[in-house]
């Protein structure tokens, strides 16, 4: 499984840096590693999701001027919360698969901005924050359609694959 995790992490990072960072709409790019973290939490549960989110956040932090570890914390939180929230879902539906990545992305972005401001990087929060948040949430929700199955494959998990929820942890 570690091989699959590594493969997904590196592939997502390369896609983010080489492709998605440049495919911007109104200057805003999808945050693929955050979408992957949330999907990992959704399919793998809170523990594995937050660990994956932490690793994914550290990878993207290598390329951001904000403090190293900030994205890691935000992504881990988002993946953990979504991992816990999935237990409240009884039936799988297309809306669930779009809604969870969207909700997780919003949690991750808000945590990132709040964390940055708390650490003195107030430039992160500008008048564009709301616009960026909405755009990334929409983009990541769409990315989740692909990333949920990918992370399910990564964990060898069943979540979202049947009509009822079967936690991959049990």
């Amino acid at each position: 499984m570690l091989f699959r995790v590594g493969l997904v992490l590196i592939s997502t990072l390369v896609l983010q840096l080489a492709l998605f960072s440049e495919l911007r709409i109104n200057g805003v790019a999808a945050q693929l590693l955050l979408a992957a973290s949330v999907s990992a939490g959704l399919t793998g549960g809170p523990d594995r999701g937050s660990a994956f989110g932490f690793a994914a956040g550290l990878l993207i932090d290598l390329y951001l001027p904000t403090p190293f570890g900030l994205s890691a914390a935000a992504y881990a939180l988002a993946a953990g919360v979504i991992g816990l929230a999935r237990d409240s879902v009884i039936e799988r539906s297309p809306l669930t698969l779009l809604g969870f990545p969207a909700m997780g992305t919003a949690i991750g972005l808000v945590a990132f901005v709040l964390g940055a401001v708390a650490l003195g990087f107030s430039e992160v929060h500008t008048g564009s924050t709301g616009r960026i948040l909405i755009t990334v949430v929409l983009m990541n929700a769409i990315a989740g359609v692909v990333l949920v199955p990918v992370t399910r494959w990564m964990w060898h998990a069943n979540w979202g694959n049947g009509s009822t929820i079967r936690s991959s942890l049990t």
Partner: protein
């Protein structure tokens, strides 16, 4: 409902991640050397893969950019055309303006790049959506870059190099909040400390501006190059956009509009000039008269 064992494991995961986060952020904010070197090593290790990805996806990204940037380019074209018309008008408006310009140029002695080594760097696309206060460039220590070196465009000062790796560096923009630089206002000659207050905002200079100084809108501002300054003298910084007078303290605050277009940087020139190296040179050549100081 979660089993007790699972809840315990979740709590342990949470505690480990929180501790790791606090440790990593603290070490990073303290500029912990081994962590920085580790980051650079990982980046260098991933670089060949991302470079390959760049090559593979470049047709897609180029096509996307040509689609999405078309309107911007059209606007820029119109704006440049208007500027050109204005410049033509200025050029034929009379010999007086030309003479004034000559005089100003002589006074400033703008030839910032003569006699010093420079390297041209491409500003790389930002990775995130919120990283607005620095720009990444595709040149690093292998090209002779050092922390503190000035970055300029043909128009003037852009910022300074704040982080250097083998093949990439980070440039902090002069408008970044807290960025300070010594400036000289051409005309009255006041030497002041200008500070950035945020991207898209004017620089502000209050410290050093004499109370009675007659500073007018449009006056040119260049780097002062005074002792201890990280920049060589006479690099154009901006023009005076306004002067605010504090009635209570009788102090003038000068607002400076940067001449370099910091919002649309594609290439910057790094002046391979280091304040430390310059000091060392001065120390070598002037050791006889400076020994006692």
């Amino acid at each position: 409902m979660s089993a007790p064992g699972q809840a315990g494991r979740s709590r342990l995961t949470l505690i480990i991640l929180v501790l790791l986060t606090i440790t990593v952020i603290t070490l990073d904010l303290q500029d912990f050397g081994p962590l920085k070197r580790g980051q650079a090593t990982v980046r260098d290790g991933v670089e060949p893969v991302t470079a390959a990805g760049d090559s593979v996806f470049s047709p897609v990204t180029n096509a996307w950019k040509s689609l999405t940037d078309y309107d911007d380019l059209q606007l820029e074209n119109e704006s440049l055309r208007a500027e050109l018309d204005e410049l033509r008008g200025t050029a034929i408006s009379g010999q007086a303006a030309v003479e004034t310009l000559d005089e100003l140029l002589r006074e400033i002695d703008i030839d910032i790049l003569s006699g010093v080594d420079t390297t041209l760097a491409r500003v790389t696309d930002p990775t995130g959506n919120f990283d607005d206060f620095t720009v990444d460039i595709d040149r690093g220590s292998r090209d002779g870059l050092l922390v503190g070196m000035p970055a300029v465009t043909g128009a003037g000062l852009v910022g300074k190099v704040v982080e250097v790796e083998a093949d990439r560096s980070q440039v902090e923009l002069i408008t970044e909040a807290g960025f300070g630089l010594g400036v000289r206002i051409i005309g009255p000659g006041d030497i002041a400390l200008a500070r950035g207050v945020g991207r898209g905002e004017h620089l502000e200079a209050a410290e050093g501006v004499a109370d009675g100084s007659r500073i007018l809108q449009g006056m040119s501002v260049v780097t002062s190059g005074i002792e201890g300054s990280p920049f060589p003298p006479d690099i154009p910084v901006g023009v005076v956009a306004g002067v605010e007078v504090d009635g209570a303290e009788l102090q003038q605050k000068v607002l400076i509009r940067p001449v370099a277009d910091l919002e649309r940087l594609t290439f910057v020139t790094i002046i391979l000039w280091s304040h430390d190296a310059d000091l060392a040179e001065v120390s070598d050549t002037g050791s006889s008269d400076g020994a006692g100081e």
